[in-house]
Symmetry: C2
Amino acid sequence: MTYEDIARAAGVSTATVSRVLTGSGAVSAARAKRVMDAVEQLSYRSSRPARTLRRQRADTIGLIVSDVEYPFVASMARAVEQAAAERGFALTVCNTDEDLERERTYVDLMLEEKVAGVIAAPATEDSPNLTPLLEAGTPVVTVDRLIADRRADAVLLDNAIATRLLVDDLLAHGHRSFVAVLGTTTATPSRERLAAMRAALASTSGTTLTVAASGLRETVGVQHTLETIGASVLRLTASMRERPTAFVCANAIMLTSLMETFQRAGIRVPDDAAVVGFDDMPGFSLFAAPVTVVAQPVRLIGRSAVDLLFDHMHNPTRERRVVRVAPELILRRSCGHGG
Amino acid sequence: MTYEDIARAAGVSTATVSRVLTGSGAVSAARAKRVMDAVEQLSYRSSRPARTLRRQRADTIGLIVSDVEYPFVASMARAVEQAAAERGFALTVCNTDEDLERERTYVDLMLEEKVAGVIAAPATEDSPNLTPLLEAGTPVVTVDRLIADRRADAVLLDNAIATRLLVDDLLAHGHRSFVAVLGTTTATPSRERLAAMRAALASTSGTTLTVAASGLRETVGVQHTLETIGASVLRLTASMRERPTAFVCANAIMLTSLMETFQRAGIRVPDDAAVVGFDDMPGFSLFAAPVTVVAQPVRLIGRSAVDLLFDHMHNPTRERRVVRVAPELILRRSCGHGG
DNA sequence: CTGAAAGCGCTTACAG
DNA sequence: CTGAAAGCGCTTACAG
C-alpha cells in the first residue's frame, strides 16, 4: 500500500497524494477529496522511514537521560512524551547511567535516526558528547543540567533559590553542621547546589559543610543507589569527631537510601538528624518522619523543553535560551520539630 | 557521507561496503580492512531510515504502556531499554493512559515506523487494538496483561499465587472484611486477582469482599490517581454499615493514595485498617506503617519480554508462549501487628 | 493547480 | 568473493 496505489485509485499523481496528505502545496478541493477517499478506502498507512529518508529528518525526538527509573526522570519523560505525541512526534528514550561512553553511543544513534531534536540531561558540563548534534544543526535542549557549549537551550531548576529554601529552614531549626549528599558531582545540580550551600552557610558563623559525593561511575541505577548511598554516607560521617545533624540529599532515591540506613542504625529523624532533599516523591508524607523537600515542577520542565525544541526547529537562528523554573518548598517534619 | 563515499575511498562497490558493515556475506579480509579504514577515516555514520526503508524493518522496538510515570512501569521500561540497547535496538515509548483510542493511534505509529516488535500492556483483554500488528506479522508480547488473541506472547505475574500470599497473611491476622482496590477492571491483573481473592475467601466462612474499582477513563496518570483513589475508596466504605478492615491495593500509587487519605481521616494503619498491595516502591519500609506488599520481579519481566520478542523474530512460527513470574511477599507491618 | 522524474541511502537478488 | 543495478516509499524542485 503506497502512494502509487492511492494515486491510481484517485486518478492523480503521487505528487498530488503527497501534497494532500502532508498538507503542503495547494490542491483543488475535488481532487483532495478523491485522494482522501482512496486513502480511506484502501486503509492506507504511511511509511515513516521513507518520509524520513527523503526529508532527512524524522518526526521523532530523542530523550537522553541517566535512568528513566528515577521518579523525577520518569515524570519528566512522561511529560515530554505527551507533548511530543500532541505534535505527532515519536519519542525515543535512552538511559546512560551517567556513562560518558554510552552517552556518546546514544548521540550517534540519534544522528543515525535523523531525529528532529534531542532533550538530554548530560552527565557532565564540559564533555563534548553533544557537540556532533549541535554541529549537525539538530536542536538540543538540556534539562536539569547545563553544558558549556552555548548552542543548546536549557531548562532547569533555580538551584540557588531552592537550596536557600532548604538551608534557611535547617538553620532556623538550629542546625549548624551540614552534609551535602550529592550524586554526579560533575553535573550542574551538584555544582550549583553546593555553591549555594556554601554561600548560604558563609553568612552564619559556626557552620560546617561536609560533602558526601558518589563518583560518576558509582551511581548506576535506582536499585544500586538505594543499596549503597546511605551506607557510604553513614560511614563517612561516623568517622567524624562531631556527627553532623543536617543532611541535604540530591534526589529522592538518595534520601530514601539514607533514611533506610538511619532507620537500621537506630538514628532517629529528625531527633538525631534532619534529612531533607530535592524532589518530592509519592509517599514522602507518609514516612514515620514525613520528608521536607524542595519540589521541582517536573511536568513544566518537560513541556518547556519540548516547546523550546520546536521553537528552535521553526526558528533555527534565534538566540539560545536558558529557562529557570521555580522550586516549591514542602515543609513536613524531617527537617526538625516545631517547624 | 554515504556508502558511495566509502566505496570510492576503499576502491570497492557499495555492495561490498554493505556486506562489511552489516557482517552479511563473505568479503576478503583485505577488502574488509580497506572498508573499515575508510569508514574510520571519513568518520562515517549510517542512515537508519535508509536501512529501514530498504529492509522494511526498523531496528527499533516499541513499548506501549499506560504511563511510564508509574514506578512499576518505569522500572520495566528501564529494563526493556537496556535489553534493547544491548542488541543495538532503539526504544520508542508510548503512553496511552488506558485510553483505547490512543492505544490504536500508537499501534498505527508502530506500523508506520516498521518497528521490529512491540511490547505492550494493553488496556483491555478483548479490544482488537493489537490485531493490525499481529496481522502484519510484527512480534508482540504483552506484559503484565494478556489479550484474547493467542498470537501474542506474554509475561506476567502469577497473580493467583501473589493474591493468595497477601490474603492468607491478612486472614492469619484475623481480618474477615476485605476491600479490593482495583484500577482498570478490564485488564488482566484486576480480573485474575479478583478471582483469586474470591477463591481464597470462599474457603473461609464469615468473610466479605467489596470491590472498589475505578473506571477505565478515570485512572489518568499518577498525579490524578494519587489525588482521587483514596478519597473514593473512603467514600465507598464510609457508607457501609460495617467498615472493612483489610484493603488490598492494585498498585503502589493507589496504595499511597489510600494511606494518605486514611492519615488525613485519622484512620490508623494497621490498628484500624490493614493496607497491603501489589508492587514494592522505594520508601515503603519507611512509612509510619511500613507496607506489606507482594513485589514483582520487574526487571525480569522487562528482560523476558525482550527475549521473547527477539526469539519470535528469529523463529516466527514457534508456538506462542505465556511466561508467569513468581511474586515475592515482603512482610512489613501494614498488614497487622505481630505478623 | 498539476504531473513526470529525480533522488534520499541503503540492501539484495542476480550474474559472474 | 565481487559488482552493477534495481528498488524500498516517500518529497520536491521543475516545468507547465
